[in-house]
Amino acid sequence: MNLEHELRALPIAFPDEPDLAPRVLARLERPARRWWLVPALVALAVAGALFAIPQTRAAILDLFRIGGVEVRRVETQPRAPVRPPLLGRGVSLATAQSTVDFPLLVPRDPFTAYVDGKMVNLRWKRYVLSQWHGEQLPFAQKQVGPGSQTAGVEVRGVPGFWITGARHEIIYRDPATDQIVAKSRRLAGNVLIWEDGDVTYRLEGARTVADARAVARNLKAR
């Protein structure tokens, strides 16, 4: 037996291992958002609906809808922690494709596929491309603060929007449960959104609209 094997075979007497799990769990901050965030988001959605009635329409500087995303310009920036987008479960491309009923658009560069409900997210370089059946997420909202700008642009031959400036928030309703859920909450920087048929595409990570449109143009259908 060589020395390394002998060392590995040494029966070290460690003290009995304590069961840490109950005490660790007791000390974790309760995941409060599980009970307050859903009602809070529902309230936010209701507030969004109120904005749409004529008396309060003045509060809204801008509103438009594209595919499953509703873009609202509101007067105060939503407060949410800046965190990387939650992309869902890492899956193979075949699995990602099997969760949606339209051919996915994929980049020519190597990418990683994630599935979040009925939404497919592809990540490569600094980009994330989300694609989903717009009808399946009819209540998605995008709230755009005053620091943001939106501009209509042409993307792959169809109309789209380029949203820049301050970070903005998107709230999705999970079509499976018809509830607005925490995992669907994200913040993003610059985003290009377009709709083709009833599929909505959302590209984040591009620094300029030219870059975003070029990335979109280079996507290929599976």
């Binding site: 007497a13 003290p15 304590p18 840490l20 799990a21 995941p31 992309l87 890492g90 995992k183």
Partner: protein
């Protein structure tokens, strides 16, 4: 082991979203190695227990910074090791426990003849004493690699060292152990 990373990444993603039961599964999966890592550094069972417990709580709060797809175990152990080091420092001059050999053979070991057993237990005691006599920085690397079974990469991350440092300390330590103990 092949399917563990997938399960674990799923658990981590759930824990990031505030799912405490997913984090509980992660704690249960790693509490043994976390406690032993802390013990090897702190050399005191209650300090080790506190260090491991605090490490798990801090790791939970830091999950947002955990890079998706990265190995969880060494990331966690690094946090636990830091906690253990802090405790060891604050323990000051208090005597630290020496490592001991377990009395009985571990389950699954072949039953040796009494003579071989005697020889081998002498040999084991000699080897452990030689490890304990190593300089702290080499002893820790040897302990992580051979007593905890961590890879070189995991040892580097756990102890906050460069991979090259782990390799050089390991080979220095092995060379010294070869001199100390009869072949």
């Amino acid at each position: 082991m092949v399917d563990r990373p997938l399960d674990e990444h799923e658990l981590i993603e759930r824990a990031k979203r505030g799912d405490a039961s997913a984090y509980e599964a992660l704690v249960r999966a790693h509490q043994g190695i976390a406690f032993r890592t802390a013990f090897l550094i702190a050399r005191d069972p209650s300090d080790a227990e506190e260090a491991a417990q605090d490490g798990f709580v801090k790791a939970y709060r830091a999950l947002g910074r955990f890079r998706r797809g990265a190995p969880f175990r060494p990331w966690l152990l690094q946090i636990v090791a830091n906690e253990a080091r802090n405790r060891r420092r604050s323990a000051g001059r208090r005597a630290h426990l020496a490592l001991r050999l377990a009395d009985e053979a571990r389950p699954g070991d072949a039953v040796p003849s009494p003579e071989a057993e005697l020889l081998s237990s002498d040999r084991r005691a000699e080897l452990l004493a030689a490890v304990e006599a190593l300089r702290e920085e080499e002893r820790l690397v040897v302990s992580c690699r051979f007593f905890l079974g961590l890879s070189e990469d995991e040892t580097a991350q756990t102890l906050g060292l460069k991979l090259g440092t782990v390799k050089s300390r390991t080979s220095r330590a092995l060379a010294q152990l070869r001199q100390e103990v009869a072949p």
